[in-house]
Symmetry: C2
Subunit: 278 residues, 2 copies
Protein backbone atom coordinates (compact mmCIF):
# COMPACT_ATOMS: atom_id res chain seq x y z
CA UNK A 1 0.00 0.00 0.00
CA UNK A 2 1.12 3.59 -0.53
CA UNK A 3 1.34 5.21 2.89
CA UNK A 4 1.81 8.96 3.34
CA UNK A 5 3.42 10.28 6.50
CA UNK A 6 3.15 14.01 7.14
CA UNK A 7 5.68 15.05 9.77
CA UNK A 8 8.93 13.09 10.03
CA UNK A 9 9.68 13.39 13.73
CA UNK A 10 10.05 10.66 16.34
CA UNK A 11 6.59 9.14 15.76
CA UNK A 12 6.32 9.74 12.02
CA UNK A 13 9.86 8.52 11.41
CA UNK A 14 9.43 5.42 13.59
CA UNK A 15 6.13 4.57 11.85
CA UNK A 16 7.88 4.98 8.49
CA UNK A 17 10.70 2.62 9.43
CA UNK A 18 8.36 -0.14 10.64
CA UNK A 19 5.73 0.23 7.90
CA UNK A 20 8.36 0.25 5.17
CA UNK A 21 9.84 -2.95 6.55
CA UNK A 22 6.31 -4.41 6.33
CA UNK A 23 6.53 -3.91 2.56
CA UNK A 24 4.56 -0.67 2.18
CA UNK A 25 5.73 2.21 0.01
CA UNK A 26 6.33 5.20 2.25
CA UNK A 27 5.90 8.77 1.03
CA UNK A 28 7.12 11.31 3.56
CA UNK A 29 6.38 15.01 3.93
CA UNK A 30 8.41 17.40 6.03
CA UNK A 31 8.54 21.18 6.13
CA UNK A 32 12.33 21.03 6.10
CA UNK A 33 14.21 19.95 2.98
CA UNK A 34 17.11 18.56 5.06
CA UNK A 35 14.74 16.26 6.91
CA UNK A 36 13.40 14.96 3.58
CA UNK A 37 16.93 14.30 2.33
CA UNK A 38 17.89 12.61 5.57
CA UNK A 39 14.78 10.39 5.53
CA UNK A 40 15.49 9.23 1.98
CA UNK A 41 19.22 8.89 2.63
CA UNK A 42 18.69 6.68 5.66
CA UNK A 43 16.14 4.57 3.79
CA UNK A 44 13.36 5.53 6.20
CA UNK A 45 11.04 6.51 3.34
CA UNK A 46 10.86 5.66 -0.36
CA UNK A 47 10.38 9.30 -1.31
CA UNK A 48 10.01 12.58 0.56
CA UNK A 49 8.84 16.04 -0.31
CA UNK A 50 8.18 19.39 1.32
CA UNK A 51 4.99 19.58 -0.75
CA UNK A 52 1.70 18.08 0.50
CA UNK A 53 0.76 17.59 -3.17
CA UNK A 54 2.80 14.35 -3.05
CA UNK A 55 0.09 12.87 -0.80
CA UNK A 56 -2.23 12.47 -3.78
CA UNK A 57 -0.67 9.03 -4.37
CA UNK A 58 -1.25 7.77 -0.81
CA UNK A 59 -3.95 5.24 0.12
CA UNK A 60 -3.63 6.21 3.77
CA UNK A 61 -2.15 9.38 5.26
CA UNK A 62 -0.77 9.48 8.80
CA UNK A 63 -0.75 13.02 10.23
CA UNK A 64 2.29 13.08 12.52
CA UNK A 65 2.74 16.83 13.04
CA UNK A 66 2.52 18.46 16.46
CA UNK A 67 -1.10 19.05 17.56
CA UNK A 68 -0.97 22.76 16.84
CA UNK A 69 -0.10 22.14 13.17
CA UNK A 70 -2.86 19.60 12.48
CA UNK A 71 -5.61 22.05 11.61
CA UNK A 72 -3.57 24.05 9.05
CA UNK A 73 -2.13 20.84 7.58
CA UNK A 74 -5.63 19.44 7.08
CA UNK A 75 -6.77 22.68 5.47
CA UNK A 76 -4.05 22.38 2.83
CA UNK A 77 -4.25 18.61 2.50
CA UNK A 78 -7.96 17.91 1.95
CA UNK A 79 -8.38 19.69 -1.43
CA UNK A 80 -5.54 17.56 -2.78
CA UNK A 81 -6.78 14.11 -1.80
CA UNK A 82 -9.22 11.81 -3.58
CA UNK A 83 -12.18 11.08 -1.24
CA UNK A 84 -11.20 7.40 -0.89
CA UNK A 85 -7.98 8.30 0.94
CA UNK A 86 -8.09 7.31 4.61
CA UNK A 87 -6.61 9.88 7.00
CA UNK A 88 -5.47 9.05 10.52
CA UNK A 89 -3.44 11.04 13.04
CA UNK A 90 -1.19 10.36 16.02
CA UNK A 91 -2.15 13.28 18.29
CA UNK A 92 -2.10 12.73 22.06
CA UNK A 93 -5.50 14.42 22.44
CA UNK A 94 -8.45 13.20 20.39
CA UNK A 95 -11.74 15.07 20.88
CA UNK A 96 -10.49 18.40 19.51
CA UNK A 97 -8.71 16.73 16.57
CA UNK A 98 -11.72 14.59 15.66
CA UNK A 99 -13.97 17.65 15.93
CA UNK A 100 -11.69 19.49 13.48
CA UNK A 101 -11.27 16.77 10.87
CA UNK A 102 -14.29 14.44 10.95
CA UNK A 103 -16.85 16.99 9.69
CA UNK A 104 -14.60 17.68 6.70
CA UNK A 105 -13.43 14.17 5.88
CA UNK A 106 -15.50 11.04 6.30
CA UNK A 107 -12.62 8.59 5.93
CA UNK A 108 -10.88 9.88 9.05
CA UNK A 109 -9.91 7.66 12.00
CA UNK A 110 -8.44 9.37 15.07
CA UNK A 111 -5.44 7.54 16.47
CA UNK A 112 -2.94 7.75 19.32
CA UNK A 113 0.08 5.47 19.41
CA UNK A 114 1.28 5.81 23.02
CA UNK A 115 4.98 5.40 22.58
CA UNK A 116 7.94 7.69 22.81
CA UNK A 117 11.39 8.29 24.17
CA UNK A 118 12.94 11.30 25.89
CA UNK A 119 14.27 12.36 22.47
CA UNK A 120 12.44 13.92 19.55
CA UNK A 121 12.97 14.49 15.84
CA UNK A 122 13.88 12.15 12.99
CA UNK A 123 17.26 11.39 14.56
CA UNK A 124 15.39 9.72 17.43
CA UNK A 125 13.22 7.54 15.16
CA UNK A 126 13.74 3.83 15.65
CA UNK A 127 12.24 0.51 14.67
CA UNK A 128 10.08 -1.42 17.10
CA UNK A 129 8.97 1.71 19.00
CA UNK A 130 5.33 0.53 19.10
CA UNK A 131 5.86 -3.09 20.13
CA UNK A 132 3.61 -3.90 23.10
CA UNK A 133 2.58 -0.23 23.42
CA UNK A 134 -1.06 0.93 23.40
CA UNK A 135 -2.37 2.28 20.08
CA UNK A 136 -5.80 3.84 20.60
CA UNK A 137 -8.24 4.32 17.71
CA UNK A 138 -11.21 6.65 18.23
CA UNK A 139 -13.73 6.11 15.42
CA UNK A 140 -17.07 7.88 15.80
CA UNK A 141 -20.57 6.81 14.65
CA UNK A 142 -20.06 8.25 11.18
CA UNK A 143 -16.65 6.64 10.60
CA UNK A 144 -16.87 3.94 7.87
CA UNK A 145 -15.98 0.47 9.18
CA UNK A 146 -13.72 0.00 6.15
CA UNK A 147 -11.60 3.00 7.12
CA UNK A 148 -11.07 1.60 10.64
CA UNK A 149 -10.23 -1.80 9.16
CA UNK A 150 -7.70 -0.31 6.77
CA UNK A 151 -5.88 1.55 9.55
CA UNK A 152 -6.05 -1.54 11.77
CA UNK A 153 -4.57 -3.77 9.06
CA UNK A 154 -1.64 -1.36 8.73
CA UNK A 155 -0.84 -0.91 12.43
CA UNK A 156 -1.52 -4.44 13.70
CA UNK A 157 1.82 -5.78 12.35
CA UNK A 158 3.61 -3.21 14.57
CA UNK A 159 2.67 -5.56 17.46
CA UNK A 160 1.02 -2.73 19.35
CA UNK A 161 -1.96 -3.27 21.66
CA UNK A 162 -4.93 -1.76 19.80
CA UNK A 163 -7.82 -0.23 21.77
CA UNK A 164 -11.04 1.38 20.50
CA UNK A 165 -12.92 4.07 22.38
CA UNK A 166 -14.67 7.40 21.90
CA UNK A 167 -12.47 10.50 21.56
CA UNK A 168 -13.91 11.81 24.83
CA UNK A 169 -13.18 8.60 26.79
CA UNK A 170 -9.64 8.62 25.40
CA UNK A 171 -9.10 12.19 26.56
CA UNK A 172 -10.43 11.44 30.05
CA UNK A 173 -8.25 8.35 30.39
CA UNK A 174 -5.04 10.09 29.27
CA UNK A 175 -5.92 13.06 31.42
CA UNK A 176 -5.74 10.78 34.48
CA UNK A 177 -2.65 8.79 33.63
CA UNK A 178 -0.61 11.23 31.56
CA UNK A 179 -1.68 14.89 31.69
CA UNK A 180 -2.61 15.14 35.39
CA UNK A 181 0.68 13.50 36.51
CA UNK A 182 2.63 16.17 34.61
CA UNK A 183 0.88 18.99 36.49
CA UNK A 184 1.06 17.17 39.84
CA UNK A 185 4.74 16.48 39.37
CA UNK A 186 5.64 19.97 38.12
CA UNK A 187 3.87 21.50 41.12
CA UNK A 188 6.04 19.34 43.40
CA UNK A 189 9.24 20.71 41.88
CA UNK A 190 7.89 24.27 42.03
CA UNK A 191 6.91 23.88 45.69
CA UNK A 192 10.35 22.57 46.67
CA UNK A 193 12.07 25.42 44.80
CA UNK A 194 10.01 27.84 46.88
CA UNK A 195 11.83 26.87 50.10
CA UNK A 196 12.99 30.16 51.60
CA UNK A 197 16.04 28.90 53.49
CA UNK A 198 19.09 28.36 51.24
CA UNK A 199 20.44 25.87 53.79
CA UNK A 200 17.32 23.73 53.70
CA UNK A 201 17.06 23.99 49.90
CA UNK A 202 20.67 22.88 49.47
CA UNK A 203 20.13 20.03 51.94
CA UNK A 204 16.95 18.93 50.16
CA UNK A 205 18.90 18.79 46.89
CA UNK A 206 21.66 16.75 48.53
CA UNK A 207 19.26 14.31 50.18
CA UNK A 208 16.83 13.82 47.27
CA UNK A 209 16.89 10.28 45.95
CA UNK A 210 14.73 7.83 44.00
CA UNK A 211 11.44 8.87 45.64
CA UNK A 212 11.83 12.47 44.60
CA UNK A 213 13.43 11.54 41.27
CA UNK A 214 10.49 9.36 40.24
CA UNK A 215 7.73 11.63 41.50
CA UNK A 216 9.25 14.68 39.80
CA UNK A 217 10.28 13.05 36.51
CA UNK A 218 7.35 13.94 34.25
CA UNK A 219 7.09 17.41 35.80
CA UNK A 220 10.64 18.07 34.62
CA UNK A 221 9.86 17.05 31.03
CA UNK A 222 9.31 18.99 27.81
CA UNK A 223 7.39 22.23 28.65
CA UNK A 224 5.86 22.44 25.16
CA UNK A 225 4.28 19.03 25.53
CA UNK A 226 2.82 20.03 28.89
CA UNK A 227 1.31 23.18 27.42
CA UNK A 228 -0.13 21.22 24.46
CA UNK A 229 -1.86 18.79 26.84
CA UNK A 230 -3.41 21.67 28.74
CA UNK A 231 -4.35 23.60 25.61
CA UNK A 232 -6.01 20.75 23.71
CA UNK A 233 -7.47 18.87 26.69
CA UNK A 234 -8.28 21.89 28.81
CA UNK A 235 -11.70 21.05 30.24
CA UNK A 236 -10.98 17.41 30.88
CA UNK A 237 -7.64 18.16 32.49
CA UNK A 238 -9.27 20.80 34.69
CA UNK A 239 -11.82 18.32 35.99
CA UNK A 240 -9.01 15.87 36.78
CA UNK A 241 -7.15 18.66 38.57
CA UNK A 242 -10.23 19.57 40.64
CA UNK A 243 -10.71 15.93 41.64
CA UNK A 244 -7.04 15.73 42.51
CA UNK A 245 -7.18 18.88 44.64
CA UNK A 246 -10.11 17.38 46.54
CA UNK A 247 -8.08 14.27 47.33
CA UNK A 248 -5.13 16.38 48.39
CA UNK A 249 -7.38 18.44 50.65
CA UNK A 250 -8.61 15.23 52.26
CA UNK A 251 -5.06 14.15 53.01
CA UNK A 252 -4.28 17.61 54.40
CA UNK A 253 -7.38 17.46 56.58
CA UNK A 254 -6.48 14.03 57.97
CA UNK A 255 -3.03 15.33 58.91
CA UNK A 256 -4.37 18.61 60.36
CA UNK A 257 -6.82 16.68 62.50
CA UNK A 258 -4.29 13.97 63.38
CA UNK A 259 -6.76 11.44 62.06
CA UNK A 260 -4.07 8.79 61.57
CA UNK A 261 -6.62 6.03 61.13
CA UNK A 262 -8.21 7.80 58.16
CA UNK A 263 -4.80 8.58 56.67
CA UNK A 264 -3.75 4.95 57.00
CA UNK A 265 -6.98 3.72 55.35
CA UNK A 266 -6.35 6.15 52.49
CA UNK A 267 -2.74 5.02 52.03
CA UNK A 268 -3.75 1.36 52.27
CA UNK A 269 -6.26 1.89 49.51
CA UNK A 270 -3.75 3.60 47.23
CA UNK A 271 -1.26 0.82 47.92
CA UNK A 272 -3.87 -1.80 47.02
CA UNK A 273 -5.22 -0.13 43.90
CA UNK A 274 -1.99 1.06 42.26
CA UNK A 275 -1.13 -2.40 40.83
CA UNK A 276 -4.33 -2.20 38.73
CA UNK A 277 -2.58 0.50 36.70
CA UNK A 278 0.63 -1.46 36.13
CA UNK B 1 34.46 -1.11 69.80
CA UNK B 2 31.38 -2.74 71.35
CA UNK B 3 28.38 -1.57 69.35
CA UNK B 4 24.82 -2.20 70.47
CA UNK B 5 22.03 -2.34 67.93
CA UNK B 6 18.48 -2.21 69.23
CA UNK B 7 16.06 -3.37 66.56
CA UNK B 8 17.29 -5.91 64.02
CA UNK B 9 15.26 -4.97 60.96
CA UNK B 10 16.48 -3.83 57.55
CA UNK B 11 18.49 -0.86 58.84
CA UNK B 12 19.68 -2.36 62.13
CA UNK B 13 20.60 -5.64 60.46
CA UNK B 14 22.42 -3.95 57.58
CA UNK B 15 24.34 -1.72 60.00
CA UNK B 16 25.28 -4.83 62.01
CA UNK B 17 26.61 -6.65 58.94
CA UNK B 18 28.80 -3.74 57.81
CA UNK B 19 30.01 -2.69 61.26
CA UNK B 20 30.89 -6.25 62.20
CA UNK B 21 32.92 -6.59 59.03
CA UNK B 22 34.75 -3.41 60.12
CA UNK B 23 35.96 -5.37 63.17
CA UNK B 24 33.52 -4.11 65.80
CA UNK B 25 31.81 -6.44 68.26
CA UNK B 26 28.09 -6.27 67.60
CA UNK B 27 25.53 -6.83 70.36
CA UNK B 28 21.99 -7.04 69.02
CA UNK B 29 18.63 -6.61 70.73
CA UNK B 30 15.32 -7.73 69.30
CA UNK B 31 11.91 -8.21 70.88
CA UNK B 32 11.60 -11.56 69.14
CA UNK B 33 13.72 -14.51 70.23
CA UNK B 34 13.67 -16.01 66.70
CA UNK B 35 15.18 -12.81 65.27
CA UNK B 36 17.97 -13.00 67.85
CA UNK B 37 18.69 -16.62 66.96
CA UNK B 38 18.62 -15.84 63.26
CA UNK B 39 20.98 -12.86 63.67
CA UNK B 40 23.52 -14.95 65.57
CA UNK B 41 23.06 -17.93 63.26
CA UNK B 42 23.72 -15.87 60.15
CA UNK B 43 26.76 -14.22 61.74
CA UNK B 44 25.15 -10.79 61.57
CA UNK B 45 25.86 -10.11 65.26
CA UNK B 46 28.28 -11.53 67.81
CA UNK B 47 25.54 -11.91 70.41
CA UNK B 48 21.85 -11.08 70.61
CA UNK B 49 19.31 -10.81 73.38
CA UNK B 50 15.70 -9.85 73.92
CA UNK B 51 16.86 -7.96 77.04
CA UNK B 52 18.00 -4.33 76.86
CA UNK B 53 20.22 -5.11 79.90
CA UNK B 54 22.78 -6.49 77.43
CA UNK B 55 23.40 -2.92 76.22
CA UNK B 56 25.38 -2.17 79.37
CA UNK B 57 28.49 -3.46 77.58
CA UNK B 58 28.08 -1.21 74.53
CA UNK B 59 30.24 1.86 73.87
CA UNK B 60 27.72 3.14 71.33
CA UNK B 61 24.06 2.15 70.98
CA UNK B 62 22.22 2.52 67.67
CA UNK B 63 18.46 2.76 68.14
CA UNK B 64 16.99 1.09 65.06
CA UNK B 65 13.40 0.52 66.15
CA UNK B 66 10.43 2.08 64.35
CA UNK B 67 9.86 5.72 65.38
CA UNK B 68 6.89 4.88 67.57
CA UNK B 69 8.98 2.54 69.74
CA UNK B 70 11.87 4.94 70.33
CA UNK B 71 10.41 6.73 73.33
CA UNK B 72 9.55 3.58 75.30
CA UNK B 73 12.87 1.96 74.34
CA UNK B 74 14.76 4.98 75.67
CA UNK B 75 12.76 4.93 78.89
CA UNK B 76 13.87 1.36 79.57
CA UNK B 77 17.39 1.77 78.21
CA UNK B 78 18.68 4.90 79.96
CA UNK B 79 18.68 3.57 83.55
CA UNK B 80 20.83 0.67 82.39
CA UNK B 81 23.60 2.58 80.61
CA UNK B 82 26.74 4.19 82.04
CA UNK B 83 26.68 7.93 81.21
CA UNK B 84 29.67 7.61 78.87
CA UNK B 85 27.66 5.50 76.41
CA UNK B 86 26.90 7.34 73.18
CA UNK B 87 23.38 6.84 71.83
CA UNK B 88 22.40 7.50 68.25
CA UNK B 89 19.27 6.62 66.29
CA UNK B 90 18.24 6.04 62.68
CA UNK B 91 14.77 7.60 62.68
CA UNK B 92 13.56 9.31 59.50
CA UNK B 93 12.31 12.32 61.50
CA UNK B 94 14.67 14.12 63.84
CA UNK B 95 13.20 17.07 65.76
CA UNK B 96 10.71 15.00 67.77
CA UNK B 97 13.29 12.28 68.49
CA UNK B 98 15.95 14.76 69.56
CA UNK B 99 13.39 16.55 71.76
CA UNK B 100 12.60 13.24 73.45
CA UNK B 101 16.11 11.96 74.06
CA UNK B 102 18.51 14.94 74.28
CA UNK B 103 17.14 16.38 77.55
CA UNK B 104 17.59 12.97 79.17
CA UNK B 105 20.92 11.93 77.68
CA UNK B 106 23.75 14.28 76.87
CA UNK B 107 25.73 11.83 74.75
CA UNK B 108 22.99 11.54 72.15
CA UNK B 109 23.51 12.24 68.45
CA UNK B 110 20.45 12.14 66.19
CA UNK B 111 21.07 10.30 62.92
CA UNK B 112 19.30 9.34 59.73
CA UNK B 113 20.91 6.96 57.26
CA UNK B 114 18.84 7.48 54.11
CA UNK B 115 18.95 4.04 52.61
CA UNK B 116 16.46 1.27 52.16
CA UNK B 117 14.90 -1.24 49.86
CA UNK B 118 11.28 -2.15 49.18
CA UNK B 119 11.70 -4.97 51.71
CA UNK B 120 11.85 -4.84 55.49
CA UNK B 121 12.96 -7.03 58.38
CA UNK B 122 16.19 -8.88 59.11
CA UNK B 123 15.73 -11.09 56.04
CA UNK B 124 16.15 -7.96 53.91
CA UNK B 125 19.37 -6.84 55.64
CA UNK B 126 22.37 -6.68 53.36
CA UNK B 127 25.93 -5.44 53.27
CA UNK B 128 26.82 -2.22 51.48
CA UNK B 129 23.34 -0.71 51.93
CA UNK B 130 24.77 2.67 52.93
CA UNK B 131 27.46 3.06 50.27
CA UNK B 132 27.13 6.47 48.61
CA UNK B 133 23.86 7.14 50.48
CA UNK B 134 23.29 10.24 52.64
CA UNK B 135 23.73 9.78 56.41
CA UNK B 136 22.54 12.88 58.25
CA UNK B 137 23.71 13.69 61.78
CA UNK B 138 21.78 16.31 63.75
CA UNK B 139 23.83 17.34 66.81
CA UNK B 140 22.49 20.29 68.81
CA UNK B 141 24.39 22.97 70.76
CA UNK B 142 24.60 20.82 73.87
CA UNK B 143 25.87 17.71 72.08
CA UNK B 144 29.49 16.97 73.04
CA UNK B 145 31.86 17.12 70.07
CA UNK B 146 33.39 13.80 71.20
CA UNK B 147 30.02 12.05 70.84
CA UNK B 148 29.62 13.30 67.28
CA UNK B 149 33.18 12.26 66.50
CA UNK B 150 32.64 8.79 67.90
CA UNK B 151 29.51 8.21 65.77
CA UNK B 152 31.27 9.69 62.72
CA UNK B 153 34.28 7.40 63.15
CA UNK B 154 31.95 4.39 63.19
CA UNK B 155 29.79 5.30 60.18
CA UNK B 156 32.43 6.86 57.90
CA UNK B 157 33.81 3.42 56.85
CA UNK B 158 30.33 2.57 55.50
CA UNK B 159 31.23 4.95 52.63
CA UNK B 160 28.08 6.97 53.18
CA UNK B 161 27.89 10.72 52.49
CA UNK B 162 27.76 12.35 55.93
CA UNK B 163 25.86 15.63 56.39
CA UNK B 164 25.41 17.72 59.54
CA UNK B 165 22.40 19.97 60.15
CA UNK B 166 19.88 20.96 62.81
CA UNK B 167 17.04 18.53 63.50
CA UNK B 168 14.58 21.12 62.20
CA UNK B 169 16.44 21.70 58.93
CA UNK B 170 16.61 17.94 58.43
CA UNK B 171 12.88 17.61 58.90
CA UNK B 172 12.14 20.43 56.46
CA UNK B 173 14.46 18.98 53.83
CA UNK B 174 13.03 15.45 54.06
CA UNK B 175 9.54 16.89 54.12
CA UNK B 176 10.17 18.35 50.66
CA UNK B 177 11.91 15.44 49.03
CA UNK B 178 10.46 12.45 50.82
CA UNK B 179 7.30 13.07 52.85
CA UNK B 180 5.52 15.53 50.52
CA UNK B 181 6.07 13.30 47.45
CA UNK B 182 4.31 10.42 49.26
CA UNK B 183 1.19 12.52 49.87
CA UNK B 184 1.27 14.07 46.37
CA UNK B 185 1.65 10.67 44.78
CA UNK B 186 -0.99 8.94 46.93
CA UNK B 187 -3.48 11.70 46.09
CA UNK B 188 -2.85 11.05 42.39
CA UNK B 189 -3.77 7.37 42.74
CA UNK B 190 -6.83 8.27 44.83
CA UNK B 191 -8.00 10.84 42.27
CA UNK B 192 -7.70 8.37 39.39
CA UNK B 193 -9.59 5.71 41.35
CA UNK B 194 -12.42 8.20 41.76
CA UNK B 195 -13.23 8.16 38.02
CA UNK B 196 -16.95 7.45 37.84
CA UNK B 197 -17.07 5.74 34.43
CA UNK B 198 -15.96 2.09 34.56
CA UNK B 199 -15.07 2.30 30.86
CA UNK B 200 -12.74 5.27 31.36
CA UNK B 201 -11.25 3.75 34.52
CA UNK B 202 -10.51 0.47 32.73
CA UNK B 203 -9.03 2.37 29.77
CA UNK B 204 -6.86 4.49 32.09
CA UNK B 205 -5.53 1.30 33.67
CA UNK B 206 -4.77 -0.18 30.23
CA UNK B 207 -3.06 2.96 28.95
CA UNK B 208 -1.03 3.83 32.05
CA UNK B 209 2.69 3.56 31.44
CA UNK B 210 5.99 4.84 32.81
CA UNK B 211 4.75 8.38 33.51
CA UNK B 212 1.97 7.18 35.77
CA UNK B 213 4.09 4.37 37.18
CA UNK B 214 6.85 6.72 38.32
CA UNK B 215 4.61 9.51 39.60
CA UNK B 216 2.49 7.06 41.62
CA UNK B 217 5.27 4.85 42.96
CA UNK B 218 5.86 6.33 46.40
CA UNK B 219 2.11 6.87 46.89
CA UNK B 220 1.63 3.13 46.53
CA UNK B 221 4.23 2.33 49.18
CA UNK B 222 4.05 1.14 52.79
CA UNK B 223 1.04 2.88 54.45
CA UNK B 224 2.59 2.61 57.93
CA UNK B 225 5.64 4.58 56.81
CA UNK B 226 3.44 7.27 55.32
CA UNK B 227 1.50 7.60 58.57
CA UNK B 228 4.74 7.74 60.60
CA UNK B 229 6.03 10.62 58.44
CA UNK B 230 2.82 12.55 58.96
CA UNK B 231 2.63 11.76 62.67
CA UNK B 232 6.20 12.67 63.59
CA UNK B 233 6.72 15.50 61.11
CA UNK B 234 3.19 16.87 61.21
CA UNK B 235 3.70 20.64 61.26
CA UNK B 236 6.55 20.68 58.78
CA UNK B 237 4.77 18.35 56.38
CA UNK B 238 1.64 20.51 56.62
CA UNK B 239 3.57 23.63 55.64
CA UNK B 240 5.04 21.75 52.66
CA UNK B 241 1.53 20.63 51.72
CA UNK B 242 0.18 24.18 51.91
CA UNK B 243 3.01 25.46 49.70
CA UNK B 244 2.34 22.62 47.29
CA UNK B 245 -1.37 23.38 47.15
CA UNK B 246 -0.54 27.00 46.30
CA UNK B 247 1.62 25.87 43.40
CA UNK B 248 -1.10 23.52 42.22
CA UNK B 249 -3.65 26.34 42.42
CA UNK B 250 -1.38 28.48 40.25
CA UNK B 251 -1.21 25.77 37.61
CA UNK B 252 -4.99 25.37 37.74
CA UNK B 253 -5.44 29.11 37.38
CA UNK B 254 -3.13 29.30 34.36
CA UNK B 255 -5.13 26.52 32.68
CA UNK B 256 -8.51 28.02 33.64
CA UNK B 257 -7.47 31.36 32.21
CA UNK B 258 -5.77 29.80 29.16
CA UNK B 259 -2.63 31.66 30.14
CA UNK B 260 -0.40 29.33 28.14
CA UNK B 261 2.56 31.69 28.38
CA UNK B 262 2.52 31.56 32.17
CA UNK B 263 2.07 27.79 32.15
CA UNK B 264 5.02 27.40 29.79
CA UNK B 265 7.22 29.64 31.94
CA UNK B 266 6.28 27.53 34.96
CA UNK B 267 7.04 24.24 33.19
CA UNK B 268 10.32 25.62 31.80
CA UNK B 269 11.38 26.55 35.29
CA UNK B 270 10.57 23.11 36.70
CA UNK B 271 12.42 21.51 33.79
CA UNK B 272 15.46 23.69 34.47
CA UNK B 273 15.55 23.30 38.24
CA UNK B 274 14.83 19.57 38.59
CA UNK B 275 18.43 18.53 37.74
CA UNK B 276 19.59 20.40 40.88
CA UNK B 277 17.88 17.65 42.89
CA UNK B 278 19.45 14.75 41.00
Amino acid sequence: MNIGIVGLGLIGGSLAIDLRSCGHTILGVSRRRETCQQAVGRGIVDAASTDLESMVAADVVFLCTPLRAISSTVEHLLPILPPTTVITDVGSVKASVVKTIAPQWQNFVGGHPMAGTAESGLDAALSGLFVDRPYVLTPIDSTPVEAVERVTSIIAPLQCRIYHCTPEDHDRAVSWISHLPVMVSASLIAACMGEASPIVLKLAQQLASSGFRDTSRVGGGNPELGVMMAMYNQETLLSSLYAYRNQLDQVIQHIEQKDWGALERQLKQTQQTRPQFL
